[in-house]
């Protein structure tokens, strides 16, 4: 790819370095990002757009938290569990966060194995990642059930501002949907890796295009993003 950028410049000129070189490369022909495939570029831009969605959700949550006149329930109490007679604040959330971050680790390993064409291990690691993701969603479902049993509703709760429940269900629900979609994608990609689609060049069912091992990495981008968003939700909703 670099060759193209250089071939553009007159032969006598040194390729420009520094900022100028950066701009020259960026605005040269064919591709702005020289080593980036279409799929990866698309995922990055999608994630940028999605960042704005989560940003708006979180900012809205903070706004209503400030606009409401009723006190905000204390999250560390609401999300505490009694385990073996011990009162543990935020314990479930801590485990969930841990699980999700671990899954980012296994995802990274899957990407690595994918590029080494290690089919079995890639597929296995993808499955493990999906399993962690599913566990996260499961724990979230448990948490929802528990809160609903305690009387938390989107339109009210026993402890204070009703926006607490609204924001909680909306934001964790939206994030949980992202995780669920991610799990589905991981399973699909795992199946394709396992079957060897990326070695044999089998065309996709919908798009009739050949896939490549890079798809593991692209799925990984999405997965890490979902994790990262969770960290913000964790900090802003549970710890604040």
């Amino acid at each position: 790819m670099e060759g193209i950028a250089q071939a553009q410049a007159p032969a006598t000129m040194e390729p420009a370095g520094g900022m100028q070189g950066f701009v020259a490369d960026w605005s040269s022909d064919q591709r702005a990002f020289k080593n980036v495939s279409w799929g990866k570029a698309m995922m990055w831009i999608f994630l940028l757009s999605d960042t704005f969605i989560f940003g708006c959700f979180l900012l809205s949550y903070m706004t209503v938290r400030m606009s409401t006149t009723v006190p905000w329930p204390n999250p560390s109490e609401v999300f505490a569990l009694e385990i073996a007679g011990q009162h543990l604040p935020l314990i479930l959330i801590a485990i969930m966060t841990f699980v999700l971050i671990t899954s980012s680790g296994t995802m990274a390993m899957a990407v690595n194995c994918g590029y080494r064409r290690d089919r079995a291990r890639t597929a296995a690691l993808l499955l493990v990642t999906a399993l962690f993701g599913a566990a996260f969603v499961g724990m979230q479902a448990f948490e929802w059930t528990k809160l609903i049993h305690e009387g938390v509703r989107p339109w009210g709760n026993p402890w204070g501002a009703e926006q607490f429940g609204s924001a909680f269900f909306m934001i964790t629900g939206f994030h949980g949907t992202h995780v669920t979609i991610g799990v589905i994608f991981l399973l699909i990609v795992a199946r394709k890796v396992w079957r060897g689609d990326y070695d044999t060049g089998r065309p996709g069912f919908f798009t009739s295009r050949k896939g490549r091992y890079e798809i593991v990495e692209i799925t990984g981008l999405y997965w890490h993003f979902v994790d990262l968003v969770w960290v913000f939700i964790f900090a802003l909703f549970y710890l604040w």
Partner: protein, 586 residues
């Protein structure tokens, strides 16, 4: 670049591994569930035009009521609100946004940058079908119990979901929000395609600074849309929850008909911020493609290179960026810290600078040009006039102290119709007259085109120019009728009747246009590949209309910028972008 045919020999083409065109096997996959960006573009355009006609008819109904209050008793106040709301929303989102980005974006981007198709044709196809679904949901609200929502196109809560507003406690608002969410999902699928195609799938030699301004405009607008629509999406989700589950994101404690509602502590202002964080960029999402297209029309039909190309590109990018920090100029009367008002007034007025640069550059392009007064050129000129006109009243409204008395009057309605209603619509017309020959292989009829132009242009002025005056008198917007007031003279009623008659005439002129589109499809003069002697790549395709894959066996290679018109010493008064330097003198 030694040989004419073998450009950059020996370097592997970047596009090879990625290009795997989908080849349709049946009529259904070729023309209906098509993955070809050109077909998708046409589908978008036809759908957008159809729903746009609904909005046009609604504007007639509104004008009938405003011009002749009390005469048409089939228009009730509730219906009037519903007409306003649907008219505004359809025009802005479902017509202009869909037509510029989905329609022109799909058709022109791959052709103008020398690609075979969008990068992800399948997602591109889905984008159209989801858009169609969004339109159908929107149309369904006309038939739902209670009718469509009458909340105004801004959908401000709390009123949007209260029983006093048509559709507020019925289906109207629900369907509207659902339709908007669908639109955004569909748009995102298409939008990602347009952005990645421009960034990563250009032909050899097509550097960023050799892209036609049309592509720059559509590209920047799409990036903006990808960043602005999220705010609308989120506010739609939250309002839907407020309406369906009884949450209170936007709902403060309130009393309705003597009854205390089950809401408390929400922030209506939050909605306004979210809405206008989308809503203001939206204006430029519509305007930037228009800027780009009009630059190309002017340059081509004045046989003159565009003046200050780099400046034009930077102006587009800067306007796009700035338009994300001006949203609260729509909220001067909503109750804001005065310092915020000062901040947003300043940023708003700063946008005038790059915008003015663009206008000067258009004029300087025309200066001593060899102006051909073709129909596209006429529309381009009309755009400049109406846009400058709307921009000037924008300077009034951008200042807090001037805006406060003018806000929510017909002056505002006149202003935004000039700048984002009429002006972009003119560009769309010009663009259709310009590219129709490429799309169909035949020219649109010139005489009908001129008739359409003069009635639309003069008519639009006769509609909206007097409206400024009515607004200055203090006639509020969104009023079913104003009845007897101390401050509005009786002559305003005569003026209103005049405006309404003009609106009917302008609407009727569009029938000429539609007829022309259908008539020329078979009877139009055959156009040949390049009827305007234009330089950009879409006119250099081996076949017209371009087939699936656009370019036949070999992709074009680009050697020059898109504005080589009237180059001294060249044999012709234009040099296509894919002409190698050695052949330029031929």
């Amino acid at each position: 670049m030694s040989t004419a045919s073998g450009p950059l020999d020996g370097i592997p083409a970047a596009e090879v591994p990625d290009v795997e065109l989908y080849h349709p096997k049946s009529w259904l996959t070729k023309y209906v569930f098509s993955q070809d960006a050109k077909i998708i573009g046409i589908q978008y355009s036809l759908t957008a035009t159809s729903i746009g006609l609904v909005a046009l008819v609604l504007s007639w109904l509104m004008r009938l009521q405003l011009g002749f209050p009390g005469t048409f008793d089939f228009i009730t106040p509730a219906e009037y609100y519903q007409f306003i709301t649907m008219h505004g929303m359809i025009m802005v989102v479902y017509l202009l946004t869909a037509l510029f980005l989905g329609g022109f974006g799909n058709y022109l981007i791959p052709l103008m940058i020398g690609a075979r198709d969008m990068v992800f044709p399948y997602a591109n196809m889905l984008s159209y079908w989801i858009y169609l679904l969004a339109v159908l949901v929107l149309v369904a609200s006309f038939f739902a119990p209670g009718g469509p929502t009458g909340a105004g196109w801004t959908l401000y809560p709390p009123q949007a979901i209260l029983s006093g507003t048509p559709g507020g406690q019925d289906w109207g608002i629900i369907l509207m929000l659902a339709s908007l969410m669908l639109f955004i999902i569909g748009f995102t699928m298409g939008g990602l395609n347009y952005v990645v195609t421009v960034l990563q799938a250009r032909a050899r030699g097509m550097t960023l600074m050799r892209m036609p301004l049309t592509v720059w405009g559509i590209f920047t607008a799409t990036v903006m849309a990808l960043l602005a629509f999220p705010a609308l999406f989120v506010s739609a989700v939250m309002m839907l929850l407020d309406r369906l589950l009884g949450t209170s994101f936007f709902m403060p404690a309130l009393v309705e008909m003597g009854q205390r509602l089950n809401h408390e502590g929400g922030s209506p202002l939050l909605f306004q911020h979210l809405f206008w964080f989308f809503g203001h960029p939206e204006v430029y999402i519509v305007a930037l493609p228009a800027f780009g297209i009009v630059s190309d029309l002017i340059s081509t039909h004045a046989r003159r290179n565009i003046f200050g190309y780099r400046m034009m590109v930077w102006a587009i990018v800067i306007i796009g960026a700035l338009s994300f920090v001006v949203w609260a100029h729509h909220m001067y009367v909503s109750g804001m810290n005065p310092y915020f008002g000062f901040f947003f007034a300043t940023t708003t007025l700063i946008i005038a600078v790059p915008t003015a640069i663009k206008v000067y550059n258009w004029l300087l392009t025309l200066w001593r040009g060899n102006i051909h007064l073709t129909v596209p050129m006429l529309f381009a000129l009309a755009f400049i006039v109406t846009f400058v006109n709307g921009g000037l009243t924008g300077l009034f409204l951008g200042n807090v102290v001037v805006d406060v008395p003018l806000s929510d009057t017909m002056f505002v309605v006149a202003h935004f119709h000039m700048v984002m209603g009429v002006a972009p619509i003119f560009v769309i017309f010009g663009a259709i007259y310009h590219w129709y020959p490429k799309i169909t292989g035949r020219m649109l009829n010139e005489a009908m085109g001129r008739l359409h132009f003069w009635v639309s242009f003069l008519g639009a002025y006769l509609i909206f120019f007097p409206m400024h005056y009515i607004g200055l008198l203090g006639v509020p917007r969104r009023y079913y009728e104003i009845g007897e007031t101390a401050f509005v003279p009786a002559s305003a009623a005569t003026l209103n009747a005049f405006i309404s008659v003009m609106a009917l005439i302008v609407g009727a002129a569009q029938i000429v246009f539609l007829f022309n589109l259908a008539w020329s499809l078979r009877r139009g003069r055959p156009a040949g590949p390049n009827p305007w002697n234009a330089t950009t790549l879409e006119w250099q395709t081996p076949e017209t209309p371009p087939p699936h894959g656009n370019w036949g066996k070999e992709l074009p290679v680009v050697y020059r910028w898109p504005y080589d018109y009237s180059v001294p010493g060249a044999a012709q008064d234009f040099i296509p972008q894919n002409h190698p330097p050695a052949r330029a003198a031929e």
